[in-house]
């Protein structure tokens, strides 16, 4: 299953809100885990989304050490990110509702 364009940012923001600060691998693992059907995500595809969100100021990355004493860059959602998540979620719902109405229902 391919990701719908533009949804990755929303997913990342949501995941960070739910789980707290995460590194890229943690995020990727989480996405694979929550998917209904197992979908294989090339973990590298997260990087453009991460740099985009960071440049927008919605998430912030800091280097920390993991429990296994390895270094990793942890991303945390910012205030602005939380506000943006609210806006984006709202927009996404409206969009889904609209598309839902337009598509023929399987009955």
């Amino acid at each position: 299953m391919a990701l719908l364009q533009g949804t990755l940012d929303l997913i990342v923001l949501r995941a960070l809100t739910a789980m707290g600060p995460q590194h890229a691998y943690g995020l990727a693992a989480r996405l694979e885990q929550v998917a209904d059907q197992p979908f294989t995500l090339n973990q590298g595809t997260l990087y453009p989304a991460l740099v985009r969100l960071e440049q927008k100021g919605w998430i912030k990355g800091t280097w920390r050490t993991t429990e296994s004493h390895r270094e990793a860059k942890y991303y945390a959602i910012s205030r602005a990110g939380e506000r943006a998540l609210g806006r984006e979620t709202e927009r996404w719902r409206r969009l889904v509702g609209l598309i839902d109405k337009l598509l023929p229902r399987e009955s």
């Binding site: 691998y25 590298g44 990087y47 740099v51 985009r52 440049q55 927008k56 100021g57």
Partner: protein
């Protein structure tokens, strides 16, 4: 908010990619380690865990590339690569790059220089508040047509007119001004400069502020009020050392023109900023003036807000009709007054606008030729790089990317050309300054050679223009070759062996694209050559006009005496004594003085009658009267054709004699012997005897035919009632060496003779003559330079094309020679290529010139824009240049050794 943040961050990552790149590498490395650790924990062996981690991550380089695109601007990154690549590829052929940069520098330099002039003079608004609403009033006088059928324009209005116009609702302010010359007397020097006598309202109308002090107030200039003056920045710097305490200082001023005032004590009340030049750049000071009801003045006005020019013209017309209708002197049948309002800026630049447009078009032609030349060179270069390009296309570069890369090269070249061109433009503007900086004196009439010259410079706008022109030119010259070279069909280049892509005998294409580019250059260059030929021809004709006197080795000057208050008799006595002393200086051949010099705008005429009671012929214009000293005509080198000149025997109490010029002799004494006849002048009842006939002198300008003229010796002139020295006497000294060597002696002599007197307006006569033709000289020099550059570029274009063709066809020519073709045939083969192209180009160029040169009509003297000799010479000149440019490649073709040519394949 976040959009800006992201924009700046992306720009920052573009400019400083290093840190972001290291951070990315570290993060990806950490990510891989985490996955690997996970796999190991699940029991995979170390090496398999590493491989599995890479599989799970996906393509590391793709991920990094996507991140780079996201964190910076993709197109900027691509541009950076293109620029780097282009620079490397150009560095490999520095000769080519140099030729292209220099060619474009000439074109862009010419355009930038002319742009800075056109922008400063024609386009930029005058430095007044809301300058677009400032107008000058011009009256169209009905019933009096000038020679070219236009109604006569009258630019002066009376004080009564100005007063009446104050009631206008469409003109918010109206002010008058007149020109004046002031003599400022300081303790140790006397300075004469141009000034303006202005309505106190003039500064308010223009909307200007002083640099220091105040401007005029309504009561200034009223009779009995203190006399005040506002000085210009130049005068302030030159004679008051830029001292701000000058405000309130007294100064002694004597107006030379206009009403003379007994009281010379003025107070300086204000200083104007350096950029203020009203009415023109020569004005150094302003004095307030109430224009009396009958006094005449030029008029400017400011259009009221919301008023249109048409409405204001109509209202001003009706106001003036009413005001003058009230005048009991005028009959009630006076026709309505028609007023035209001319934008102040248009009025100021009108004399140079046609020429500047011609120059701008000429500069654009030079740039187009340079572009065509470079485009042709680039076509040849990309043709030579076909294999390289084909390889890049084959390796997956998109066509767009290849085109962009090639365009990056041409734009880089043209930006370098623009940089060099800007340096050229700065030099060009300096040259223009030198050409335009002619002697500019109010007594010589005419305006400055180039209005607003001080505002001309390669400024920010000009730099912006140079950059924009460079980019456009770079795209223009590159687009043809880029599109052509990247055509997918060109992929065939890969399939062929290197040898076969060489000049195969059957595959020599006619030089289509490059040939037409060179032909276009020839057309443009020929057109410019014709234009330059016409202007140079016209200037030479003007400079070669027989003046009727010999201006070389003549020093002219005037003398300011405290005086200008002295009675005329005293001035005349002083002049006689000075001339006697001047004759004593070693190296002085002759000396004299006169009421005015040739080209000085002072004219008085008196009707000439052959009998005391006979009326003058009504159609004949009254002759121009010139008062001169005994030796003036001899000093100036005016030839006496018949009879005699003035001599010692003439003087007060002797028979009254005068000299007439040839034009007068022909007009009024056709078929008779004028010498010895008696004539009567004006209302003078006593006769004058014609003692001699002198050669015609061009008194009013080199382009004005001589008019009937009479010379009278000062010693006998008192009966005429003409003021002898309205502008002060003009002295002339003929020297055996260069007149400049005499200047110090003259100044000393003048001071010795009268401690109060000072020499001024010291100038060699030939400089005065040159000043009157400074403008045509400037145009001819500039257009000739453009034409020379154009012809040189076109010649280089022809040469490069033929040289390339010969190089391409080396093998073919080798085979022809091997099969027995004579070398003469080979030369003819090459020359015929260029001959056909040149013939077509020159023909089309001459045809284009017949259309284009019409705009030159107003700039030409003594020839029409279709002057056949000029066209013929231009064609011959270009043919010779083209022949020379073709000869070298043709010789090279003939010298090809068939053995070498065939073996090198």
């Amino acid at each position: 908010m976040w959009r800006w943040r992201r924009f700046w961050l992306r720009l920052d990552r573009f400019l400083r990619p290093g840190r972001a790149e290291r951070e990315l590498a570290r993060e990806v490395e950490a990510h891989l380690s985490l996955i690997e650790e996970d796999f190991r924990r699940r029991g995979l062996p170390a090496d398999e865990a590493r491989a599995a981690a890479r599989r799970a991550f996906g393509g590391v380089e793709q991920a990094k590339e996507c991140q780079r695109d996201e964190r910076s601007f993709v197109w900027l990154e691509a541009l950076r690569q293109d620029v780097r690549h282009a620079a490397r590829s150009l560095a490999r052929s520095p000769g080519f790059a140099l030729v292209v940069v220099l060619t474009l520098a000439l074109g862009i330099g010419a355009d930038t220089a002319i742009f800075s002039v056109v922008n400063a003079v024609l386009l930029r608004p005058l430095p007044y508040a809301d300058a677009d609403r400032l107008v000058r009033l011009v009256e169209q006088v009905p019933g009096s047509e000038t020679r070219d059928g236009q109604p006569q324009r009258r630019v002066v209005f009376t004080g009564a007119d100005l007063d009446a116009l104050q009631d206008s609702r469409t003109l918010s302010q109206t002010a008058g001004y007149g020109l004046s010359v002031l003599i400022m007397r300081a303790p140790d020097e006397a300075v004469r400069f141009m000034a303006a006598a202005v309505s106190p309202a003039v500064f308010g109308t223009l909307g200007v502020r002083p640099l220091a002090g105040r401007l005029f107030e309504p009561q200034d200039g009223a009779p009995g009020a203190d006399q005040v003056v506002v000085i210009g920045y130049d005068l302030w710097q030159a004679h008051f050392g830029g001292d701000p305490r000058v405000i309130g200082q007294p100064v002694s001023l004597q107006p030379l023109l206009g009403a003379s005032r007994p009281n010379q004590a003025y107070t300086i009340v204000g200083v104007m900023p350096p950029a203020f030049h009203f009415p023109d750049g020569r004005t150094r000071a302003w004095i307030p003036s109430r224009f009396g009801a009958a006094q005449r003045a030029f008029a400017i006005a400011r259009l009221a807000k919301g008023a249109s020019i048409d409405a204001a013209e109509a209202e001003a017309g009706s106001i003036l009709s009413r005001a003058r209708g009230r005048d009991p002197q005028k009959s009630d049948a006076a026709p309505p007054v028609r007023v035209t309002l001319v934008r102040l800026q248009d009025d100021l630049v009108a004399p140079v606008r046609p020429a500047l447009i011609v120059l701008a078009v000429a500069a654009a032609c030079v740039l187009l030729i340079a572009c065509a030349n470079v485009a042709s060179l680039l076509l040849a270069r990309t043709a030579g790089r076909q294999r390289e390009i084909a390889v890049r296309l084959a390796l997956g570069a998109g066509r767009g990317r290849v085109i962009r890369h090639l365009l990056a090269e041409s734009v880089m070249l043209s930006l370098a050309g623009g940089l060099a061109g800007t340096v050229l433009a700065i030099g060009g503007v300096e040259l223009l300054r030198t050409l335009a900086a002619a002697l500019s004196r109010i007594d010589l009439g005419g305006g400055v050679s180039l209005p607003r010259l001080d505002e001309v410079g390669v400024d920010g706008a000009a730099l912006l223009f140079a950059v924009a022109t460079s980019i456009v030119a770079g795209l223009l010259v590159g687009v043809g070759s880029a599109l052509r070279a990247s055509r997918p069909a060109r992929m065939n280049a890969l399939r062929e062996s290197r040898a076969a892509t060489g000049p195969g005998l059957l595959r020599v294409r006619p030089r289509g694209a490059r040939g037409s580019l060179v032909a276009a250059q020839i057309v443009l260059a020929t057109t410019l050559l014709v234009d330059a030929g016409l202007l140079v021809h016209s200037f030479v004709a003007l400079a070669a006009v027989d003046l009727g006197y010999d201006p070389s080795n003549v020093l002219t000057f005037q003398v300011a005496t405290p005086g200008d208050l002295y009675p005329d008799a005293r001035v005349q006595a002083f002049a006689e004594r000075l001339v006697a002393r001047l004759r004593g200086i070693p190296g002085v051949a002759a000396a004299g003085f006169a009421r005015q010099l040739p080209l000085v705008q002072l004219v008085d005429s008196l009707p000439l009658r052959t009998a005391p009671a006979a009326p003058a012929a009504p159609s004949a214009s009254p002759p121009d009267i010139r008062l001169v000293s005994r030796d003036y005509l001899k000093t100036m080198g005016v030839r006496v054709i018949d009879g005699r000149g003035f001599g010692d025997g003439d003087g007060p109490g002797r028979p009254r004699v005068l000299l007439v010029n040839e034009t007068l002799a022909h007009r009024d004494f056709a078929g008779e012997e004028p010498v010895g006849q008696s004539v009567y002048l004006g209302s003078d009842a006593e006769p004058w005897q014609i003692a001699g006939i002198v050669d015609d002198v061009r008194e009013f300008g080199l382009d004005r035919p001589p008019e009937p003229q009479i010379f009278i010796d000062f010693r006998q002139a008192s009966a005429l009632g003409l003021p002898p020295f309205p502008l002060g006497p003009y002295f002339v000294v003929r020297t055996s060496g260069h007149p400049a060597t005499l200047v110090a002696d003259v100044r000393r002599l003048v001071r010795d003779l009268d401690a109060q007197a000072r020499a001024l307006n010291v100038a060699p006569m030939d400089r005065i003559v040159a000043a009157t033709i400074a403008r045509p000289h400037m145009y001819a020099v500039l257009v000739a330079i453009f034409a020379a550059v154009a012809v040189t570029l076109a010649a280089i274009g022809i040469f490069a094309l033929l040289a390339y063709a010969v190089a391409q066809r080396t093998r073919e020519i080798g085979i022809r020679l091997a099969l027995g073709a004579r070398r003469g045939r080979v030369v003819a083969l090459v020359l015929s290529q260029s001959l056909i192209m040149t013939a077509i180009g020159v023909g089309a160029g001459l045809a284009a010139a017949t259309v284009g040169a019409r705009s030159l009509a107003s700039l030409l003297y003594g020839l029409t824009p279709l002057d056949p000799a000029t066209y013929f010479l231009a064609a011959v000149l270009f043919a010779v240049v083209a022949a020379v440019a073709s000869w070298v490649p043709a010789r090279r073709a003939a010298k090809i050794d068939p053995v070498v040519a065939l073996r090198c394949e």
